[in-house]
Amino acid sequence: MSASDRPAPLNPSDAFKDHLLATLPHLRAFARGLCGRPDYADDLVQEAAIKAWAARDRFTPDTNMRAWTFTILRNHYLSELRRNRHQADYDPEAVERLLTMEATQEDSVNISDMEAALQRLSPERREALLLVGAGGFTYEEAAEIGDCAIGTMKSRVARARAELSVMLDPEREGPAAVKVPAASP
């Protein structure tokens, strides 16, 4: 049974909670892509969920819960990055090993390779690609979540796509793929 099959909760807090809980898998996927570490990603999700719960009076019902909670999560993640608490755990050599592993799955791109390649992008470009390329947000929504202009978001996505193409699909794309419209980072 899905959330939509259940009777509508009577209490607004119950409705909010159900909505928040249904959003948790998306938050986990977004956080995993952002930081590349499952345990830390789940910590981020839990902290973001608690912040969202504490601020639930500020959420407008019938608006996009996923966009709202993603914004909370990315702001929390960025403040954590600034405090430099978890960056030391990032191991570039491990990423390199993953990238040079031979693909063992039938997929055109091994998921491990994709995870490793994502982590080689700048945080802004990684976030942009996750929001638009994986999360399914429009550029407008992604720009709002990422607190930047739409043109900046488009540029970040284009640059992230070009970088990943060089990393993951070099034969097809070639070095020319990195040429993207000039704009802010």
Binding site: M1, S2, A3, S4, R6, N11, S13, D14, K17, D18, H19, L20, L21, A22, T23, L24, P25, H26, R28, A29, F30, R32, G33, D42, Q46, A49, I50, W53, M65, R66, D107, S108, V109, N110, I111, D113, M114, E115, A117, L118, L129, L130, V132, G133, A134, G135, G136, F137, T138, Y139, E140, E141, V157, R161, L164, S165, L168, D169, R172, E173
Partner: protein, 67 residues
């Protein structure tokens, strides 16, 4: 509650599916684009880990206090 936790992709934000008009998509997609979505969806399909139990209890508790 368990029901909501196992809710897979889609849910309330169905209108925000991949491939809406203002997103890059179509035949020009590089080979890895599908891998990016698979990566995202692989996490969506995971059950919530046990570590989330405390969070859920906390939400329940504060909700009860408000009623």
């Amino acid at each position: 509650m368990e029901l909501a936790l196992s809710q897979p992709k889609g849910m309330d934000d169905r209108k925000h599916k991949l491939g809406s008009s203002s997103q890059p998509s179509g035949p020009g997609q590089p080979g890895w684009a599908d891998g990016l979505r698979k990566l995202y969806n692989s996490v969506l399909d995971e059950p919530l880990p046990d570590s989330f139990d405390d969070l859920l209890k906390k939400l329940d508790r504060t909700n009860d206090e408000r009623k």
